[in-house]
C-alpha cells in the first residue's frame, strides 16, 4: 500500500465472520454475539472493502461526473462506523497491487447503512438445542 492509495481494510477476524446470504451481508461478532445486516448498495461496497480495495478506488468505481465528493463523504462515514463497531480493521500489509473494483451502483449516505442487533448478544454462544426458557421460549438470551 502506498500512502497515495489511502488506507485499506480487512475483516476483523477473529472475532468477526461475514457471509452473503440471499443478497444480505450477515456479519457476526462471535465475541460479543452482535449481528449486523447490510443490504442494498452497502453489500457491494462491503465486498470491495474486504477485497482490499482502497476507498478512493471504490468511489471511482461508482462516480459519475460531479458525484464524487458526496460518494466519498458517505463512504468515509460508513467506514468510520464499521471501524467503530469493530467489523473492519486497517490492513497492516504494505505494498501489493491496487485492487480492481468492478463498476458499482452509486449510493446515498442513507444507503450506506446497516442494522445492528445487539439483543442477540450471547445467543450465538449458546447451543440452541438445549437452551430455552419456560416463559420466554427458545432461544433466549442469558443475562
Amino acid at each position: 500500500m502506498s500512502q497515495a492509495d489511502g488506507p485499506r481494510y480487512e475483516l476483523n477476524n477473529p472475532p468477526v465472520i461475514s457471509e452473503v446470504i440471499d443478497g444480505e451481508v450477515v456479519a457476526i461478532d462471535l465475541d460479543a454475539g452482535n449481528y449486523f445486516s447490510l443490504r442494498g448498495p452497502a453489500v457491494a461496497v462491503w465486498s470491495a472493502l474486504l477485497d482490499g480495495a482502497a476507498p478512493r478506488d471504490i468511489v471511482a468505481a461508482a462516480a459519475t461526473p460531479g458525484a464524487e465528493p458526496a460518494l466519498a463523504d458517505a463512504l468515509e462515514l460508513f467506514v468510520e462506523r464499521l471501524l467503530a463497531d469493530r467489523l473492519l480493521r486497517p490492513r497492516n500489509d504494505t505494498g501489493g497491487a491496487p485492487v480492481a473494483v468492478a463498476p458499482l451502483q452509486a449510493w446515498s449516505r442513507d444507503e450506506l447503512d446497516y442494522e445492528c442487533f445487539t439483543d442477540m448478544q450471547n445467543l450465538l454462544g449458546l447451543d440452541p438445542i438445549h437452551e430455552a426458557d419456560d416463559r420466554l421460549g427458545w432461544p433466549v438470551q442469558q443475562t
Binding site: 477473529p14 457471509e19 446470504i21 450477515v26 445486516s37 442487533f117 442477540m120 447451543d127 430455552a132 427458545w138
Partner: protein, 380 residues
C-alpha cells in the same frame, strides 16, 4: 497422533444428547490410541451437572480463546487434528487454528442448527428470523473454512455439499452405545404403557409432548382406556400443570438404573417429534435396549434407510397414525418381538462399539485426505 477437541463446555454425565456425543467422541478417540486434549470454552458450571471424567484438559478454559493460545503455541505444531464442536465455539476458535497448516480442521456439527431453527419457526415457536439467518451464515462459513464437516446423518452431510459445493462432508455414528443381548423369554404381555425420554428445555420435546397430549392421547384412550405415556426428564411444574390430563405422567429426571428398569417395564417408546435435526440419541438408545419405538420421520432422521426404517421402528405422522401404531404395538406380541429384535440389531450394527470406532477411523482418514488436498491447493 495428537487431537484437540474444542466445545462450548465440559460434557456432563447423563445430560443432553450433545454432551453424550462429545463425551463419546473424546473418550472413543482416546481408546483408539491418540493423545486427546479437550478445551471447553468457559469454566465448568458445577450446578449444571457432573462433568465427564477422563478428559485431558488443554490450556486455561476459564479464559476463552486467550486461555488456549499459550497452549497452542507449545503444542499446535505437533497436533494432527482439531475437532471443533457446535457452531458457536467452532466459529470462535477456528481462526486460532488456521496458523498451523499441517493440522486438519474438523467441524463436528451435531445437527444443522439453522434447519432446526427454521423448522421450529415454521411450527410457530418463538424463534427470531434473524437468528435463523445468523446461524445459517455461521454454519455455511464453517462448512467452507474447515477441511471436513461431520454430521450424524447422510441427509445433513448431503445438504452441506448442496449449499457449499466445495465443502467436504461425511456422516458417522455420533453415539457409542452398549447394546445388551436380546432378553430371553421376554414376558411381553407384562409390559404396558409407553415412555418418552427428554426434557422440556429441548423445544422439539416440548412441542412433541404437548402435541401428543392434545391431539393423540384423548382419542387413543377411547381405544385403549388404560394407555399412559410416562415422560422422563426435566419438565417445569408450570408446564406440567398446563399439560396435565388422564394418561400423561411426568416422572422428572431419573438415574440410569431407574431408566433401565422403566425401559424394561414399558411396552414401547413414543417420540412424537414434529421438527428437529440430527440423529436422536433417545431413539437409538431405546432401540439398543430392545424397546420398540413409534416416532415420526423426524425422529427417524439419519437412521440408515438401507436398514429399512419400517423394520426398526413404526413411523407415524398424523395423530391417527400414532394412535394406529400404538394400538397395534400394544396388542400384537409378534410385532413387538420382531421390532425389539430388529431395533437391537440395527443399533448394534450402526451404533455399537465396532461401528462407532470404524466411524472415528473413517473421520480421521477423511480429515487427513482433506487437509492434504487443502495444502496442495495452497501450494499451487
Amino acid at each position: 497422533m495428537r487431537i484437540l477437541i474444542v466445545d462450548g463446555g465440559v460434557p456432563l454425565r447423563g445430560a443432553d444428547g450433545g454432551s453424550g456425543a462429545v463425551a463419546d467422541l473424546a473418550l472413543g478417540l482416546a481408546r483408539l490410541g491418540p493423545d486427546v486434549f479437550f478445551y471447553p470454552d468457559g469454566r465448568p458450571d458445577p450446578a449444571a451437572g457432573e462433568p465427564i471424567t477422563g478428559l485431558t484438559l488443554a490450556g486455561e478454559p476459564s479464559k476463552g480463546p486467550s486461555g488456549l493460545e499459550p497452549w497452542l503455541q507449545r503444542h499446535g505444531p505437533s497436533l494432527d487434528h482439531a475437532i471443533l464442536s457446535r457452531p458457536g465455539p467452532a466459529g470462535k476458535y477456528l481462526p486460532y487454528l488456521t496458523r498451523f497448516p499441517k493440522l486438519s480442521r474438523i467441524f463436528f456439527g451435531h445437527d444443522i442448527h439453522h434447519h432446526r431453527l427454521r423448522d421450529a419457526r415454521a411450527h410457530g415457536l418463538p424463534v427470531e428470523s434473524l437468528l435463523v439467518r445468523g446461524m445459517e451464515a455461521l454454519e455455511r462459513h464453517l462448512w467452507r473454512k474447515v477441511d471436513l464437516v461431520v454430521y450424524p446423518s447422510p441427509e445433513e452431510a448431503a445438504a452441506v455439499v448442496v449449499a457449499e459445493p466445495m465443502a467436504r462432508a461425511i456422516d458417522i455414528p455420533i453415539y457409542r452405545l452398549d447394546v445388551p443381548p436380546p432378553p430371553a423369554g421376554e414376558p411381553v404381555p407384562a409390559r404396558r404403557d409407553a415412555m418418552f425420554v427428554g426434557g422440556a428445555a429441548h423445544l422439539p420435546n416440548r412441542d412433541g409432548v404437548a402435541w401428543f397430549a392434545e391431539a393423540v392421547l384423548p382419542p387413543l384412550r377411547h381405544r385403549l382406556p388404560d394407555f399412559a405415556l410416562h415422560v422422563i426428564g426435566a419438565w417445569p411444574a408450570g408446564l406440567i400443570g398446563e399439560l396435565q390430563r388422564p394418561g400423561l405422567y411426568f416422572h422428572g429426571r431419573i438415574d440410569d438404573l431407574a431408566l433401565e428398569m422403566r425401559m424394561k417395564a414399558v411396552r414401547m417408546a413414543v417420540f412424537p417429534l414434529r421438527f428437529g435435526g440430527g440423529v436422536k440419541r433417545k431413539v437409538v438408545a431405546a432401540l439398543a435396549q430392545g424397546l420398540p419405538v413409534v416416532t415420526s420421520p423426524v425422529g427417524l432422521q439419519g437412521l440408515d434407510p438401507g436398514a429399512g426404517r419400517g423394520a426398526v421402528a413404526l413411523s407415524a405422522h398424523s395423530a391417527d397414525d400414532y394412535a394406529d401404531a400404538i394400538a397395534r404395538l400394544a396388542s400384537d406380541d409378534d410385532l413387538w418381538r420382531r421390532l425389539a429384535r430388529s431395533g437391537q440389531d440395527f443399533a448394534r450394527d450402526h451404533y455399537g462399539h465396532q461401528a462407532y470406532d470404524d466411524g472415528l477411523r473413517h473421520m480421521l482418514g477423511a480429515a487427513d485426505a482433506a487437509s492434504a488436498r487443502r495444502r496442495r491447493q495452497n501450494a499451487e
